[in-house]
C-alpha cells in the first residue's frame, strides 16, 4: 500500500511543535503561513524556465533552424536564447525600469504601471486571502469586482456630487456592491450549507451577464455609443492620479491601507481571532461559543467588500468607464495571488506586486517581441501549482527535506458541508 501514502514526510522528532492530531486544515494553514521562502523562489524560477521552453519551442525562427539541428545545434540554441532573452528582457523593461529612457520619471514609468496593475490584484487578493483564513474558498472575486464596479461606476457617472464627497460615495458604493455579492454567498453558506465554491462560480457568471445587460440599458450605456460602454465617470469621482504621464492613482494608497486593515483585523482583533478559529476548526469554534454562521456571513461580506474595492479601482482609477470586461480576469488572478501570498496580508501585497509586474510587462513584451501575453498566465499558474506541492519542487531541485516536508493540504470538506 505504499502508493497510498503521502511522499516522504519528516520523522516525528524533527518537528515536535506539530501536534499529532493536527487536522488537514491546520496543516494547510501552517504550510501557508510558515512555508519556506526557498520553495517559493524555486517555484518562480521553475515556472519561468518552463515559460522559456514554451517561448523557445513555439518561436518560428527556432523551428526553422531546428530542421537542421543535428548538423548545427548551435544555431537552434542561439535562436532559442535570443527568443527567450528578448521576451524576458521586454517583460523586465515593461514592468520595472526602462533603461533606454533618459529622464528618471520616464525610466520609472514601468514601475508605476506595475503598481497600477497590482493595486486591484492586491485588493481582490486580500478578499480571497481573508476568506481562506476563515476556511472559505472565495472563487467569486470576479463577480464581486464586477458588482463593485457597477455600483461605483454608476455613482461616478450617474450622480453629480461635490468634490471629495463624490469620490467617497463612489468608493463606498463599490465596496457595498462587492459586499452584497459576497454576502449572498456567506448567507447561503450559513443558512443552507450551500458550498461557497459552487455558489461563487455561479455568481461570477450571473454578474457577468448582469453587467452585459446593464450596459445595453439607457441608464448605463454612453449616449451615442454603439458599443456597450458607459459614460466616463465625473472628474470629482475619479481617483486622483499622481503623475501626469502615468496611470498610477490614489487606489494604490487605499490598497496598502486595506492590507494594513486586514492585518490588524486578523492579528489584533477579536473578530479576526474568530475568523481564524472557525477556519482552523469550525466544530471547536462552535463549542467555544462562537457563532460559525455569523462568521461565515461577516467573512464573505468583508471579502466581497475588498474585491469590490478592486472594482472601484478599475472603474474610478484605471479605466474610468465601465465595460463588460472591467474585471479583466483580476478575480481569477486574485486567487493565485492569495495562494502565492500564503493567505497573509503582506504576502498578498508582495504576490500582487509580482503579478502586477507580469501584467504590466506583458503588454510591451507582446508589442515589441510578438510573444503572446498569455505566457504570463502560464507562468502565473505554474508558480502556484509548484508552490502548492513543495515535495515536487524539492524533488526537482534536490533540496533536502529539513523541516516540515508536508504537502499543502486543506479545507478538506465535501461539497455539501
Amino acid at each position: 500500500m505504499t502508493d497510498t501514502l503521502p511522499p516522504a514526510s519528516a520523522p516525528e522528532e524533527e518537528r515536535p511543535e506539530v501536534p499529532a492530531e493536527e487536522t488537514f486544515f491546520q496543516r494547510f494553514m501552517r504550510e501557508l503561513t510558515s512555508g519556506s521562502i526557498l520553495v517559493t523562489i524555486l517555484s518562480v524560477v521553475l515556472a519561468l524556465f518552463i515559460g522559456a521552453l514554451l517561448i523557445a519551442a513555439s518561436d518560428p525562427d527556432v523551428q526553422d533552424r531546428a530542421s537542421y539541428f543535428f548538423s548545427r545545434p548551435g544555431d537552434t540554441l542561439e535562436a532559442a536564447w535570443s527568443a527567450v532573452s528578448n521576451a524576458y528582457s521586454a517583460l523586465f523593461t515593461g514592468s520595472i525600469i526602462d533603461i533606454n529612457e533618459y529622464t528618471v520619471g520616464r525610466a520609472l514609468r514601468p514601475l508605476a504601471e506595475t503598481a497600477t496593475n497590482a493595486a486591484p490584484l492586491i485588493a481582490a487578493g486580500l478578499g480571497v486571502a481573508l476568506a481562506f483564513r476563515a476556511g472559505l474558498f472565495n472563487i467569486g472575486a470576479e463577480g464581486q469586482i464586477i458588482l463593485g464596479a457597477i455600483l461605483a461606476g454608476y455613482v461616478g457617472f450617474g450622480m453629480h456630487l461635490p468634490t471629495g464627497l463624490h469620490l467617497i460615495v463612489g468608493v463606498l458604493a463599490g465596496i457595498v456592491g462587492g459586499a452584497i455579492w459576497g454576502g449572498i454567498v456567506g448567507l447561503l453558506k450559513a443558512r443552507t450549507g450551500a458550498h461557497e465554491v459552487i455558489v461563487t462560480i455561479m455568481l461570477n457568471y450571473v454578474a457577468r451577464f448582469l453587467i452585459a445587460y446593464l450596459l445595453t440599458t439607457s441608464a448605463f450605456q454612453r449616449p451615442g455609443a454603439s458599443n456597450p460602454v458607459s459614460p466616463i465617470v465625473d472628474e470629482n469621482a475619479q481617483l486622483t492620479r499622481f503623475f501626469s504621464d502615468s496611470r498610477l492613482h490614489l487606489g494604490f494608497v487605499l490598497v496598502i491601507l486595506a492590507a494594513f486593515g486586514v492585518w490588524w483585523l486578523l492579528e489584533r482583533s477579536t473578530m479576526g481571532f474568530e475568523f481564524r478559529a472557525v477556519g482552523a476548526n469550525p466544530n471547536a469554534a462552535r463549542t467555544a461559543g462562537m457563532s460559525v454562521s455569523r462568521t461565515y456571513i461577516w467573512v464573505m461580506l468583508l471579502a466581497g467588500g475588498l474585491a469590490g474595492l478592486a472594482g472601484v479601482m478599475q472603474v474610478l482609477g484605471t479605466e474610468r468607464y465601465l465595460t463588460a470586461g472591467i474585471s479583466a480576469g483580476i478575480g481569477f488572478d486574485a486567487i493565485t495571488v492569495a495562494l502565492l501570498g500564503r493567505a497573509s496580508p503582506w504576502g498578498t501585497v508582495a504576490a500582487g506586486l509580482l503579478f502586477g509586474a507580469l501584467r504590466a510587462g506583458g503588454v510591451p513584451m507582446q508589442a515589441s517581441t510578438g510573444t503572446p501575453i498569455d505566457i504570463i498566465v502560464v507562468i502565473q499558474s505554474l508558480i502556484v501549482l509548484f508552490i502548492a506541492a513543495p515535495p515536487l519542487v524539492r524533488a526537482i531541485f534536490r533540496v533536502p527535506v529539513r523541516s516540515a516536508g508536508q504537502p499543502v493540504a486543506g479545507l478538506q470538506r465535501g461539497w455539501g458541508a
Binding site: F137, L188, A194, L203, Y213, T336, D374, A417
Partner: protein, 428 residues
C-alpha cells in the same frame, strides 16, 4: 491520541433528513404557475399566432407547421401548470412526496407556455431548436460525466473546463497535422488524460487541495492554449488549425422519424459516443462490482480500504477516466461543430457542466437531463434573440447558474454530494 480526525463538520444548519415531504415543491410550482397564468396567459397579446415548424425539408414525411393561437394556448398550458401545482399540494398534504415525473411534466408545460407566449406573431422551427439544443449540450454532457466519474470516487474535478479546452485544442492541431479526424479524436482523449493526470498527481499523490489544483489547471490550460494559438495557430492556420468537421452519420430508418430523427439520429460520431458513454457509465456505476467499489471509495474510503479496495488507485483511475471523457467532449467544439480552434473556445462550458452534474445529483442520467435542459435554455435564448422577445437574452443565459445556486441551497430539492468528495485519503 493518534487517531487523526478527518471528519467533515456537520452542515451548519444540522438539517435532519426530512421524513415529512417538503412543501418547497408545491410552493415553487404554485408561484411559477401563477407567473405563467398572469404573464403568458392573461396578459398575453390576443389575436396572435405562434407558428412552430415541425419538419425539415429533407424529411420523408412532411408535416405542416403548427400554427397555434397564442393567448388561448398559453392560457391552457398555464392552467395545466396550476392543476399540477394543486395536485402536488394535495399529494404533500396526504403525506406523499412529489414524484419526479410530475416535476418534469410541470417543467414541460411551463416551458411550452413560455414558448407559445414568446413566439407570438413569429415562427420558429421546433426541429432546429432541438438540434441546436443538443449541439450545445454535447460538451456539457461529456463534462458532467467526467465530473460524475471523478466525484463518485471522491475527487472534486473543477478542471472540467481545462479538460474540455485541452481536448478541443489538441484534437484540432493533431487532426490538422495528421490529416485524420479520427486521430484527432484520439488526441482529444489524450489531452483530457494529460490534464487529469496532473490533477490526479497533485490531488492524490501530493495531497494538494483539489479545488486549488482544479482552478489553477483551468488557468494553465487556458494560458497554454491561448499562447500557442497566438504563436502558431493564428498566424499559420493552414498548417496548424484547419481540421474540418466530422461527417454526420445518418442512422437508417431511425433518422426518418419526424422531429426526433433529424435531432437524435443525424449526428456525428461524437454524439453517438455520448449516448453510449452515458448509458455505459450509468450501468457501470450502479449495476456492476466496479461501480460499487467506486462509490464506496467516494462515500467511505476507510471502510473501502478495510475491505481491501485500494482507495487511491481507484481514485487515480477514475480521475484519468473522467479526463478522457471530458477530453473527447472537448473535441466536439472543434471537430464536431466549428471545424477550427479559437481562443477560449470552451467559454465556461466546463463550469456549466459542473453545474449540470450537481443539478443532476451526481448521476449520469441526471447529468444528461440537466445538461440537455441547460443546452435547451441556451439555444432558446439565441433563437429568441433572433426573433426578439420581451426578456433580455442575458437573463436567459443566467438561468443555468441561478438554478444551480437554488439547487445547492436546497431550494429545489436537496442535493447531496458523495460523502468523501474532496477529502484526500491518507492511510493512518
Amino acid at each position: 491520541m493518534s487517531a487523526q480526525t478527518v471528519v467533515a463538520p456537520p452542515t451548519p444548519t444540522g438539517q435532519d433528513l426530512a421524513v415529512r415531504p417538503s412543501w418547497k415543491a408545491p410552493i415553487a410550482f404554485a408561484v411559477l404557475a401563477l407567473v405563467a397564468l398572469i404573464t403568458f396567459g392573461i396578459l398575453g397579446e390576443s389575436g396572435q399566432t405562434s407558428t412552430f415548424g415541425i419538419s425539415t425539408s429533407s424529411d420523408a414525411w412532411q408535416i405542416d407547421p403548427l400554427a397555434l393561437s397564442s393567448q388561448p394556448v398559453a392560457l391552457g398550458l398555464s392552467l395545466v401548470c396550476v392543476v399540477i401545482a394543486a395536485y402536488s399540494a394535495w399529494l404533500v398534504r396526504q403525506g406523499q412526496s412529489v414524484p419526479v415525473w410530475l416535476t418534469v411534466l410541470f417543467a414541460i408545460a411551463f416551458v411550452l407556455a413560455f414558448l407559445v407566449w414568446a413566439v407570438a406573431g413569429e415562427q420558429i422551427s421546433f426541429t432546429s431548436l432541438l438540434q441546436g439544443a443538443l449541439a450545445l449540450s454535447v460538451p456539457l454532457v461529456f463534462g458532467a460525466l467526467s465530473g460524475v466519474l471523478c466525484e463518485r470516487a471522491g475527487v472534486i474535478n473543477i478542471a472540467i473546463e481545462g479538460q474540455l479546452l485541452a481536448g478541443a485544442f489538441l484534437s484540432a492541431v493533431v487532426a490538422t497535422l495528421t490529416g485524420s479526424l479520427y486521430v484527432g479524436l484520439l488526441a482529444a482523449i489524450v489531452a483530457g488524460l494529460l490534464v487529469a493526470f496532473v490533477l490526479a498527481v497533485f490531488a492524490i499523490k501530493y495531497i494538494v487541495n483539489q479545488i486549488i489544483v482544479g482552478v489553477v489547471l483551468n488557468v494553465l490550460v487556458l494560458g497554454v492554449t491561448n499562447f500557442l494559438y497566438g504563436q502558431l495557430l493564428a498566424p499559420e492556420a493552414s498548417t496548424w488549425n484547419s481540421p474540418g468537421t466530422l461527417p454526420r452519420v445518418e442512422i437508417p430508418l431511425l433518422s426518418e422519424i419526424p422531429v426526433i430523427g433529424p435531432v437524435v439520429f443525424e449526428q456525428t460520431i461524437i454524439v453517438y459516443a455520448m449516448y453510449v458513454t452515458v448509458i455505459l457509465v450509468q450501468i457501470a456505476l450502479f449495476r456492476t462490482r466496479w461501480g460499487l467499489r467506486v462509490r464506496s471509495v467516494g462515500e467511505h474510503p476507510k471502510a473501502a480500504d478495510t475491505l481491501g479496495i485500494k482507495v487511491n488507485t481507484v481514485r487515480f483511475r477514475n480521475v484519468l477516466l473522467g479526463g478522457a471523457v471530458a477530453g473527447l467532449g472537448g473535441a466536439f467544439f472543434t471537430l464536431g461543430n466549428v471545424g477550427a480552434f479559437s481562443r477560449e473556445m470552451s467559454a465556461g462550458q466546463g463550469f456549466i457542466a459542473l453545474a449540470a452534474m450537481i443539478f443532476g445529483r451526481w448521476s449520469p442520467l441526471g447529468a444528461l437531463g440537466a445538461a440537455l435542459l441547460f443546452g435547451f435554455a441556451n439555444n432558446l435564448q439565441s433563437v429568441l434573440g433572433i426573433i426578439g422577445t420581451p426578456i433580455p437574452s442575458e437573463f436567459m443565459l443566467m438561468l443555468p447558474y441561478i438554478l444551480t445556486i437554488f439547487a445547492v441551497a436546497g431550494l429545489v430539492g436537496r442535493v447531496r454530494a458523495p460523502a468523501a468528495d474532496g477529502e484526500p485519503y491518507v492511510k493512518s
